[in-house]
């Protein structure tokens, strides 16, 4: 019989990992199978489900389909010591780190704004030690952490990370495969304390539909302990039952349903509205200094009570209509939907 050995262990901190038995038992005690009306305000959802020290993960990808309404609310409620999944986290993590809510990150992709350049605020926080990178990982490996979490297994094998410093700073392990005898990376599972996902439509119980690519939200939604779904609109339950194959997040994974039209602003909502480049630019400019960060947060977060008020500040319905139109003309046309 072949001998299996642990060849190497990454030295990164293992965050969001649960023993599958412990997680099953948590799920049994805490995840209701009852279809209940879970509609609530962003304020209520955040105060109810996000606790200091929690490991949180945000849906979508980069500046796409991110639940910004909840991100702003977390800042408004001054949640602290959060650990965040840097799973191509861009605007969301930049703001949360800048506001002092998140001080630990496991990084696949963070502190950047893709084409728009590097993040100013969160980078500064890392470079000055205010925010700590606790481990490194890749995008593929991160979503497989959620896949393993969803599947109730402790790890997923993969052939990434091998031979690099990314592996050394990760929480993965390398063994020789019992079937092939070749080295293989074991990526530990992840069950975040809370995930925050913005969707196109959802009923009051939490049965949610996403248009376009699911990115990693199928796995993330199923793996998370608590799940806050924000939605462009709440649809009648009977209607979601008519096309059950369109529901990618069934209600029993969902803890809160928050109706927030334009809830991804200034990010893109695929086939709904485009990136608000003006607003993103404003943030990127202001965030060059700590004073600018304060100015931004004061203006757009602390001095408003709700996402509606925020939407008025960024230009109101007129601006939103323009973003809707841009999304349709730059790519999708209305007929496609």
């Amino acid at each position: 019989m072949l001998k299996v050995e642990i060849i190497e262990e990454g030295q990164g901190q293992l965050v969001g990992f649960r023993d599958p038995d412990e997680n099953r038992s948590w799920v049994l005690d805490n995840k209701s199978r009852t279809p209940e009306d879970k509609r609530m305000s962003a304020q209520e959802a955040v105060s109810k489900f996000i606790k200091p020290g929690d490991f949180i993960a945000s849906g979508g990808f980069g500046h796409v389909r991110v639940s910004m309404a909840i991100i702003y609310e977390i800042i408004r409620q001054k949640k602290q010591n959060l650990i965040m999944a840097g799973k191509t986290a861009v605007h969301d993590i930049d703001l949360l780190v800048a506001a002092g809510c998140v001080d630990k990150v496991e990084v696949a992709y963070s502190f950047g704004h893709e084409l728009r350049g590097l993040s100013n605020a969160s980078r500064r926080a890392v470079q000055t030690g205010k925010c700590k990178v606790v481990s490194e990982i890749s995008n593929a490996a991160y979503q497989w952490r959620f896949l393993a979490g969803m599947m109730g297994i402790p790890f997923i094998p993969s052939r990434v990370l091998l031979g690099t410093d990314t592996f050394k700073k990760s929480s993965a392990k390398i063994i020789n495969c019992p079937f092939t005898n070749k080295p293989l990376t074991l990526i530990p599972s992840c069950n975040p304390d809370v995930a925050i996902i913005h969707v196109h439509r959802c009923d009051k119980y939490g049965n949610a539909q996403i248009d376009g690519a699911l990115i990693e939200d199928f796995e993330l939604s199923h793996a998370s302990r608590r799940l806050i779904v924000t939605t462009e609109k709440v649809t009648p339950h009977r209607k979601t039952r008519l096309k059950p194959w369109r529901t990618s997040i069934p209600f029993y994974y969902v803890d809160a349903v928050v109706e927030v039209p334009y809830g991804a602003h200034p990010c893109q909502m695929p086939m709904e509205y485009f990136f608000d480049e003006d607003h993103i630019s404003e943030w990127l400019k202001l965030s060059k200094t700590d004073d600018g960060v304060k100015e931004y947060l004061e203006k757009y977060v602390y001095s408003v009570n709700s996402f509606d008020q925020y939407l008025r500040l960024i230009g109101g319905q007129r601006k939103l209509n323009r973003l809707k139109k841009m999304e349709m003309t730059t790519g999708w046309k209305a007929e496609v939907k």
Binding site: T88, L115, A140, A141, W144, D165, G212
Partner: protein, 259 residues
């Protein structure tokens, strides 16, 4: 460093044109935003109409007319073959369905290993960069990776501050030894000065062509490690007017090309 005589294109356009010509028709390519998507969409309109474009967030086979701003946005699956998930695309990548992959880098060494994580000390970084993203995945799993990056002595380095993504690691056989898939690795490096490949025997970086008006001296001056320089070095082709026209059509806001 810009070409010395006046030309009707900039460095980004030159690099996109050079990269586009490397892509073969009827192959698949994993694309990131920026220069890679610009190059691939150019190839789609010239030498590789059937190129299968894959974005890591789940967009496959997009026919968008304009460059996507983000790897996850709706144009990545516009009139596409599929709008699925990262799990699907990364599985295809790991399963051997992806021929080419593009990578960017802040630092590269002679074996094509790259750094996109940190400049300076890891714990107290001089510059914290975004990290691997899908870079380690592409660099580990694509059959051929093409690295697009700026070249100077601080970027073409003897020793990386951090090895984010594997090139040929320490040389021949090293990838297979650590368990990376067979027959994979860096294929080309394209900088603003030239095009590089890797010597089959040593797996060390080797100059293949210099861009127009760039001397081998300049190439050497902007590289901190010893570069293999063969006797015959070609000159990269300049982008044609037709190519430039297409590039400006697919990036009308000059988001990638620059203003």
């Amino acid at each position: 460093m810009m070409p010395k005589k006046t030309v009707n294109y900039n460095q980004v356009e030159l690099m996109a044109s050079v990269a586009a010509k490397m892509l073969e028709n009827d192959k698949s390519v994993l694309v990131g935003t920026g220069l890679p998507v610009l190059a691939t969409m150019l190839a789609q309109r010239t030498n590789a109409p059937n190129i299968l474009i894959m974005y890591e967030a789940g967009g496959i086979g997009s026919q968008a007319s304009v460059v996507p701003v983000s790897v996850g946005e709706s144009r990545t699956f516009y009139h596409g073959i599929a709008a699925s998930s990262m799990h699907d695309v990364m599985s295809a990548l790991q399963g051997g369905f992806v021929d080419y992959g593009f990578l960017g880098a802040a630092q590269i060494d002679m074996y094509g290993n790259i750094n996109t994580t940190v400049i300076g000390d890891y714990d107290i970084p001089k510059v914290r960069l975004p990290g691997s993203g899908g870079g380690n995945d592409a660099g580990s799993l694509c059959f051929k990776t093409i690295i697009l990056m700026k070249q100077d002595t601080k970027r073409f380095v003897k020793k990386l501050d951090f090895m984010t993504t594997p090139g040929y690691l320490t040389g021949p056989g090293a990838r297979e030894k650590v368990g990376l898939p067979q027959n994979t690795g860096p294929y080309r490096v394209i900088s603003q000065l030239g095009v590089y490949g890797f010597d089959n025997n040593t797996k060390k970086m080797m100059l293949l062509s210099t861009h127009p008006n760039v001397s081998i001296e300049e190439i050497k001056e902007n590289c901190s490690f010893e570069l293999t320089i063969p006797v015959n070095v070609e000159t990269s082709k300049e982008p044609s007017d037709q190519e430039l026209k297409i590039l400006r059509q697919i990036d009308p806001m000059k988001l990638v090309i620059g203003k």
